[in-house]
């Protein structure tokens, strides 16, 4: 819950990975960036932490009462999850989050040790904001800021938006002429609906950005 309109308020990240070493690493990386971190070792534990039972569908009658109670106490601004996990994969977790009416606003980032273009595309199409190749580095996490700022915007009154937009969002998102809707980030509700297409486009564009030191979306650019 955004307690104040302050853009420097704490961000809480939920990190999901079955590897203890990788959990320790991601936790340290996130804490270095001054994020609050919770780590869990499975997708099902992640859903439980988020206040969602695995069997919950986006049922408007039952979900709000369950999630609202938990949502007040546990606010998560971003979920970062490993792809390859036993049981529920990162992709499965992503799907569940995006299918949940209470959780789908939370940006999700996928990490994987394998550079599989079809996997990357599938995740981005399902609504993942970013796809990081492991081992994840500080430079990767620096790209999370705009996604986290977006959730803060949604929780804030319209007056606060313009400032944040100017200072944080604009530099990160290059102007998108082919976009059918003008400046989708300026209003909270259109953002919800347009998020999937924006992410895909942004990801593709960022795949070509010069500051990328390691090839990440190579496969996607050739597949297009």
């Amino acid at each position: 819950m955004a307690i104040t309109g302050d853009s420097h308020s704490q961000f809480h990240v939920l990190a999901v990975d079955d590897s203890l070493i990788d959990r320790k690493l991601i936790e340290r990386l996130l804490k270095t960036s001054s994020y609050q971190v919770t780590t869990v070792d499975s997708g099902s534990k992640a859903l439980r932490f988020l206040g969602l039972n695995e069997d919950d569908q986006s049922n408007p009658d039952t979900v709000p009462s369950v999630s609202l109670n938990n949502h007040q106490e546990v606010e998560v601004n971003l979920i970062i999850t490993d792809y390859c996990m036993p049981g529920m994969t990162g992709y499965d977790l992503l799907k569940k989050v995006k299918e949940s009416s209470s959780l789908r606003n939370i940006p999700v980032v996928i990490m994987s040790s394998e550079n599989v273009p079809s996997r990357i595309t599938r995740c981005l199409e399902e609504g993942a904001e970013e796809f990081f190749l492991k081992p994840v580095r500080q430079a990767d996490l620096n790209r999370l800021k705009p996604h986290l700022m977006k959730t803060k915007i949604k929780n804030q009154k319209p007056e606060g938006q313009e400032e944040l937009e100017k200072s944080n969002i604009q530099p990160e998102q290059p102007p998108q002429p082919p976009s059918p809707h003008p400046q989708p980030d300026s209003q909270p509700s259109p953002l919800l609906q347009q998020q999937p297409t924006n992410n895909k486009r942004k990801a593709m564009e960022e795949g070509l950005s010069p500051d990328r030191t390691r090839p990440r979306y190579n496969g996607i650019t050739t597949m297009v």
Binding site: S19, I21, K24, R28, K134, Q138
Partner: protein
Amino acid sequence: MDSVIQLQRQLVDYTAQLFNEGILDDQFNQLQQLQDESNPDFVVEVVTLFFEDSERLLNELAKALEQQSVDYRKIDAHVHQLKGSSSSIGAQRVQKVCIAFRNCCEDRNIEGCQKCLQQVKHEYSLVKTKLETLFKVRGKKGKNKSNLFRMNTVAQATDFCLYDRSLSRRFWQQEGQFLGQYNKVKTIAEDHSQRKQNGILDM
């Protein structure tokens, strides 16, 4: 103290060589950058987890390859884990062998898998010994595990010696020189602090 400076120089060379030989890659540097005053033992903690995890996986792999009916999927899963953790700490050569290992699994090539297991055990021994020496000389806060590490190092070194004699000879020469210097400095330092304690101020 001359000896300390010499040791410091040797430490720099020793570390540089690890990178030159591809035993460690830049990810290890990333780990070191994450260490600070608030988390002074971070690298040692992560690397220790890697040692524990790897030893467990290597045991599982040996067992799995001994079975009458080899479960390649299980082996592949273990190797995938080992590949991931070695990549996360920067143990590049271990990671590379894991990639080859997974290919052998895919081909259901039992001999290839057995060979890969030997190779990965060797590369793991190597990186473990190197890191233990590094930690010993650089010093690590917390529990003093140097005795335990020394024993493990000897056991591991034996494995290593059996693998390739010429390599091991050179390795031990190097290790010997480096550790010899470390012991020399340690003795001087201990002597110095002893004198200080006894009230004989030694400038």
